[in-house]
Amino acid sequence: MRILAYIGAAVLAQLAAFGRLSIFTAQAVSHLARPPFYWREFVTAVVQIGWFSLPVVGLTAFFTGGALALQIYAGGARFSAEAVVPQIVAIGMVRELGPVLVGLMIAARVTSSIAAEIATMKVTEQIDALVTLSTHPMKYLTLPRVLAATLVMPVLVGIGDIIGIFGGFVVGVERLGFNSSAYLKNTVDFLQVHDITSSLVKGAVFGFVAALMGCYYGMGSDRGAMGVGRATKGSVVAAAVLILAANFALTEAFFST
């Protein structure tokens, strides 16, 4: 009986957390329809999330594309299918690795910094100060960041896809002896619009999740430095898990036949 009560309490706590998150999400989105919109905060968020993430996105994608090419070559060689490297690299990057890796890097880089910043603002009463200055924290802090991440992430993922394919191309041509124009032709011929759409949609969803988790955990931070630390950790874990879960759901939606 004890165990049942224990499980019941845990389930209830999870449901309550889910309810809180849903309300928070609905509130954040609803502010989109209610003026004012803080352009300055939005543009700052676009630069912070988009522009400054380019180096880490580029490096991650490049090395992953290269490693992917090596593995596919090694694996394919066992049943003399080495020739499929360009196609599989393209599909692997665009459909899965591009969006997921960029999403996780954004969770590490952007979610954590949003959560730490907002949590610190909460702890130092800056959020209370915003309220007393007639500025809604959801409008001023959450909406610009969530919207910026949602719009910028497809671009980042697109760039990540291209650089990842390029990483595979460099390894393919330099190390594995592929003909460069044949490699490119195979890649372009094989990819379909559907693959690219799925990649960009995933990017938008992951961007939304990443920024939303940062704001949600930041706003809910406890007092003190420990509170900020907990909020930051919680936000990154939640963003990463939700991104991977959403990725599964989206793959199911786009590619299951």
């Binding site: 800056q126 309220v131 007393t132 200055l133």
Partner: protein, 248 residues
Amino acid sequence: MITLRDVHKSFGSNHVLAGVNLTVPQGENMVVIGGSGSGKSILIKSILGLVKPDSGQITVGGQDVTTGDRDAFLARFGMLFQGGALFDSLPVWQNVAFRLLRGALKRPRDQARDIAIEKLRRVGLSADVADRLPAELSGGMQKRVSLARAIAAEPEIIFFDEPTTGLDPIMAGVINDLIREIVTEMGATAMTITHDMTSVRAMADRVAMLHGGVIRWTGPIADLDNSGDPHVDQFIHGRAEGPIATLR
């Protein structure tokens, strides 16, 4: 006029406010004194709705603070937070002019900046701090920037949470005079929290002492020295012995 009726607020088993009754008359400065941790900051935060009281009623100008348009309500207030609460991503002048750069009171940027610099001057800060970030200022300077922000939009009701804590005696005098001036010249209604008895005497119209979750004593400043309340006497003379325990 601000009225609190039987306001209660607890954090777990810590009953911070246990039935507070208080009236702040229009156009006067009500100074709230009381030991550290007695709930003074919570008291003014509950008037602003930043903390939700568990029970009781708070009215401002006869209107219940939990009803009506919240934006319009908050637009009448200015608040100096105990910790300053400056936005550390914005330069000093944008902090001061925050209300003037967005929302209902929005005006052109250069005009907002001029007002900010004027308000900074009134709290004893020169124009060259305007473009610095809050993190580059000393604690006392941050406090004064925060004070400038609280008064920038010339609100009708202003709360000052320890405006002179951390300031040198001369600067504390400047701030005391400034608050006195804002109340008498602009006709603002104010509540000021302070531990500094010099400040109390320099700027109070009325004094209220918060102790044990209730207002122990309240009255005009002239009556402070013969309040007849041992708690007040112990507090204003800073005695270790008396009804207020020193371990809390």
